[in-house]
């Protein structure tokens, strides 16, 4: 079975007509998302997240590569039949009320939508009270909620949300998270774009990190976090040849940490990069056998945040085993 969303080596270079500066927004980016996932695409501003979503929705033509939704190539408008989309910085015609907007825009994507359906949608995002208010009077957070209702108007299988919690207050954010979770229980597939980690951390089953148009890493959240477990070790000096030998087990599991050392101290600081506790103990056994005396071991509670920052700092190179 093929994935619901499939992107193969997508590249996009924006050419600006007058300034002769090309922007490589996406560089050979491949990805696949299966039915039922909440997938998060994470990256700093300008990483190319929006560009990716726009290519997949047929708004932007890729310079090279291809993508498909449910087996239909994205250059065909039919690929968007089962798709909902909340663009970043969307602007609805502001002379319409929320209800009118959902009726007209709903018909563009789904044919008919009854008043009952529209009320249910508005209720779902907590906007029913404002159904007959012109959109021009809405706050940013209300716009976002209305936009999410709009993305659900055609009862889509696959929903793209580009920075959905942008400008939403903390309570609203939690409500949006809960909404996403309930959508997932209905079997919907959700693709989230965000530059804010905590937004993805709490809801996504899988994430990819994008930086300067390149995929940095990708995987299940727990796997990504585990891959990154780092122990800060303070011990007597580890002989060079032992450090080399340990590198054979796994690429450089033990590294001198960047922390400055007092010259009079007999202790040194190291970082041990391992994938499991068992592996940590194997490394410790070897150190002890060589009479390295351990002063302390601290498990870095490595959050996705650190993973993200490291990934972005290292600018595209593999982040595994990178010491700071």
């Amino acid at each position: 079975m093929s994935a619901l969303l499939e992107a193969d080596a997508l590249s996009k270079t924006y050419r600006t007509a007058f300034r002769r500066r090309d922007v490589k927004a996406l560089d050979s980016f491949s990805l696949s998302v299966d039915t039922g996932e909440i997938f998060g695409l994470l990256g700093p501003n300008g990483a190319g997240k929006t560009t990716f979503v726009k290519i997949v929705l047929g708004l932007v033509k890729p310079t090279s590569g291809s993508a498909s939704i449910d087996g239909t190539t994205v250059s065909d408008w039919r690929s968007r039949r089962q798709v909902g989309y909340l663009p970043e910085n969307h602007r609805f015609p502001d002379y319409l009320t929320a209800r009118q907007m959902l009726r007209h825009y709903g018909r563009l994507s789904a044919g008919q939508s009854s008043n009952r359906d529209i009320d249910r949608l508005l209720d779902r995002v907590g906007m029913l009270r404002w159904a007959d208010t012109p959109i021009r009077k809405f706050s940013k957070g209300m716009m976002q909620r209305t936009g999410i209702a709009h993305a659900l108007a055609n009862n889509p299988k696959l929903i793209f949300l580009d920075e959905p919690t942008d400008g939403v207050d903390p309570v609203g954010r939690r409500e949006i998270r809960e909404l996403l979770t309930s959508l997932r229980h209905e079997g919907k597939t959700i693709f989230l774009n965000s530059h804010i980690l905590s937004e993805l951390e709490l809801v996504c089953s899988r994430i990819a990190i994008l930086n300067r148009g390149k995929l940095v890493t990708e995987g299940r959240l727990d796997e990504l976090l585990q891959k990154q477990t780092v122990y800060a070790v303070t011990s007597t000096r580890i002989p060079e040849q032992l450090l080399d030998r340990l590198s054979d087990v796994q690429p450089a599991p033990v590294r001198a940490s960047g922390r400055g050392e007092r010259p009079d101290s007999e202790l040194s600081h190291y970082e041990i990069h391992v994938s499991s506790r068992a592996h940590l103990n194997v490394v410790l056994d070897q150190l002890r056998r060589e009479h390295v005396e351990i002063e302390s071991i601290i498990r870095n509670t490595d959050s996705l945040e650190e993973l993200f920052v490291r990934a972005v700092d290292s600018d595209g190179s593999s982040q595994e085993g990178i010491a700071r």
């Binding site: 989309y85 002379y95 825009y105």
Partner: protein, 288 residues
């Protein structure tokens, strides 16, 4: 198909949410209301014996005609001629009002559709891009058709009620006005799709309209232009739209005058066709 229809409705609604469109409607109402209240015609046995404007006697309109013997004499115009003159005049004025104000009202719409924030919403729908463009164009044309029909139709009715005379072919004028508007809007469409600037598209379209006024005096101008440039000028006459010359056709329909030449209308339509094809192509290949 239903998506294009929905886009048409959205465009129609958006135009009516603008004050220029409502203003055009109000101005049209003023024109026919004024005409019906201020103009009093004395008609005796089907011929015009007096015209009063706001109660003041304006005299009976006369025209110079040459008799068979070559003498020039003043003669009363027939009622039919009088009515068709008024209708021609209104048709001509309305043509230009529709052109300038209609374009002014509609020009920001396409750049708006293509602007960041709206283009993402519209063009991510499961609808071909050209269906959205088509729906938009139909919506704009429908508003112009509504306004033209309203103004011309009311004037026509007022004149019929006042004189019992059915003069002119108003449907013809309405058609010409709408078709000419379509032609003018083709420039707006192409430039909007390429540059997203309503100011630029308006300036260029108004520029073309002004250039077309010079084509009214083509016969005299042509002789004053030096050789190599004369060819360029004649070439431009055929290539560029002939908005001004077409006024004569609109006025001709409104009155009883025969229509001299269809060429300006036809060549302008061809120009518009090329513009629309280019706009459609540009929209289907560009990034949004």
């Amino acid at each position: 198909m239903s998506a294009a229809f929905e886009m048409m409705k959205l465009t129609f609604l958006e135009l009516w949410s603008r004050w220029v469109t409502v203003g055009l409607f109000v101005a049209s109402s003023l024109v026919w209301i004024l005409l019906s209240f201020t103009l009093n015609l004395d008609i005796v046995e089907g011929s015009l014996t007096g015209v009063r404007i706001l109660g003041q006697d304006a005299g009976v309109p006369r025209e110079r005609v040459e008799t068979a013997s070559g003498e020039a004499v003043q003669q009363f115009v027939t009622l039919n001629m009088f009515v068709s003159q008024i209708q021609s005049f209104v048709a001509g004025v309305a043509y230009w009002a529709a052109a300038f104000l209609g374009l002014f009202a509609a020009a920001p719409l396409l750049p708006g559709m293509l602007s960041r924030g709206q283009s993402d919403l519209l063009f991510s729908k499961p609808v071909p891009r050209l269906a959205l463009l088509g729906g938009h164009l139909l919506g704009v044309f429908l508003v112009v058709l509504t306004l033209a029909t309203y103004l011309y139709g009311m004037i026509w009715l007022v004149m019929i009620l006042k004189t019992d005379l059915v003069a002119g072919r108003m449907y013809g004028s309405i058609l010409v006005v709408v078709v000419m508007f379509m032609a003018m809007y083709s420039v707006v469409a192409l430039l909007s799709v390429t540059t997203e600037s309503s100011a630029l598209s308006l300036i260029v379209t108004y520029g073309l309209i002004i250039a077309s006024v010079s084509f009214l005096f083509r016969d005299t101008l042509e002789l004053q232009i030096n050789r190599p440039w004369r060819g360029v000028y004649v070439g431009l006459y055929h290539v560029l739209p002939n908005f001004a010359e077409t006024t004569k056709i609109a006025a001709g329909f409104a009155g009883e005058d025969p229509i001299g030449s269809w060429y300006p209308l036809i060549s302008t339509c061809l120009f518009a066709l090329v513009m629309y094809v280019a706009a459609a192509w540009r929209l289907s290949v560009r990034d949004l």
